[in-house]
């Protein structure tokens, strides 16, 4: 796969205007974007429902990440607090052998 096609797909997933143009005229938009014939063929066979739902899911995740960045300090503090609070409640250490092989690495 050409890097140019990969980048085109990334734009397709994130750019609603491009998505609308591709769904309306896949071959024409592919040609305007200088895609190869095979790549234009692939656009003609696109799963439009899957594309729209994927784009919606990706947009939701991007929005979520922006919110997470804004609240990252809060999240870190929550982790530290929750760990220390619970750890304090149930003791500083756990009895050896309480769990199945807790202190040994998982065997792969």
């Amino acid at each position: 796969m050409r890097p140019e096609f990969e980048t085109f797909l990334a734009r397709l997933y994130t750019d609603a205007a491009l998505r609308a143009r591709v769904l309306a005229d896949p071959r024409g938009e592919g040609a305007r974007s200088q895609l190869t014939r095979d790549e234009c063929d692939a656009l003609e066979r696109l799963d439009r429902v899957g594309l729209e739902l994927s784009a919606k899911s990706f947009a939701h995740k991007r929005a979520l990440k922006e919110r997470i960045v804004r609240t990252s300090l809060f999240s870190v503090l929550t982790f530290v607090f929750s760990f220390r609070f619970v750890h304090g409640l149930i003791g500083q250490s756990f009895p050896a052998g309480l769990g199945k092989g807790r202190t040994q690495s998982v065997q792969m």
Partner: protein, 301 residues
């Protein structure tokens, strides 16, 4: 791999080394820490701790001293023709060095291309070229981090355009080219099977069972298409907000019947948290399902 006197797999020994755990979530912290007698491993999302404060890092190290920790990445995006970013790898390497997880893992996904951030895990077109590019990225990741990741099959709502092989063939191709073992997400397999009519058993049969090292379990829901033109069309979404559906446990039985090495099974739950007892019940169901599959190995022997 445990072996009996005749060189056969000692299923009881393998089963005793299976591990079951959950993904770390602040909302589950109390429940996880209070039930480490029933939780063998805890998986943490790498990006939540890469660049975190030193206090958070110390808290994670303390957690790792109490229970084996797994580091799970979601943002490297190795399934790309672009090289993985060195800075991301170095940050991940520092985290892995600090936590010393049982293993680290990453998704077989594309998350960015050029300057465009997709925002989540997109399936790369399944071609020979993307197999080779993914393997090259995984080799680079292994070099910088110091160990090979387990690689996870992803769920997708659309078949990646321009693909020339099936998902199972593509995943197997990446495993062969990269020497990375598989973190098999059975809910992702279940979701793709529903959405694209894949036979999940045929998918499992395509994989080399000796290369399956870990399992993810999760839940999902149906989502409907928005446009009137596509009314009545829907897809099944892997959202980690729902209970593990029955067919996923059935797939775990099938995995247990095929894989003759210890497995690490992680239940992923990212929100709408039920009581901890309910999550533990799902872990118990997973133990029972894997044991049922293991018993088939005994029967065959």
């Amino acid at each position: 791999m445990a072996a009996g006197a005749a060189g056969e797999v000692d299923v009881a020994v393998v089963e005793a080394r299976d591990r079951f755990g959950v993904t770390w979530q602040p909302g589950l912290a109390a429940g996880i820490l209070a039930h480490l007698d029933r939780i063998d491993v805890v998986e943490v999302i790498a990006e939540e701790f890469c660049g975190a404060s030193s206090r958070a890092a110390r808290a994670l190290q303390t957690l790792a001293s109490q229970v084996p920790v797994l580091v799970h990445g979601v943002a490297l995006g190795p399934a790309s023709t672009s090289p993985v970013e060195t800075k991301r790898l170095e940050t991940l390497a520092r985290l892995v060095h600090r936590v010393r997880p049982a293993f680290w893992s990453e998704h077989l996904a594309c998350v960015r291309s050029g300057a465009i951030e997709i925002g989540h895990l997109a399936a790369a077109p399944r071609t020979r070229a993307t197999i080779d590019a993914t393997a090259a990225n995984l080799a680079r990741a292994a070099e910088v981090v110091g160990s090979r990741p387990l690689v996870e099959n992803i769920a997708t709502l659309m078949e990646p355009p321009a693909s020339t092989c099936s998902e199972a063939q593509w995943v197997s191709g990446v495993m062969a080219a990269s020497e990375c073992d598989l973190l098999l997400d059975l809910h992702n397999l279940h979701a793709n099977s529903i959405n694209f009519g894949i036979d999940p058993i045929g998918y499992l049969d395509t994989l080399d069972p000796d290369r399956i090292g870990a399992i993810h379990l999760a839940g999902g829901c149906w989502i409907d298409a928005d446009s009137e033109k596509d009314a009545n069309q829907r897809r099944y979404l892997d959202d980690h907000f729902h209970d593990v559906p029955d067919p996923v446990y059935s797939l775990l039985v099938e995995v247990g019947a095929r894989v003759r090495r210890p497995l690490t099974v992680v239940l992923e739950r990212d929100g709408r948290f039920p009581p901890m007892t309910h999550l533990l019940w799902q872990l118990d169901r997973a133990r029972a399902a894997l044991a049922e599959g293991r018993s088939r190995i005994c029967d065959e022997a």
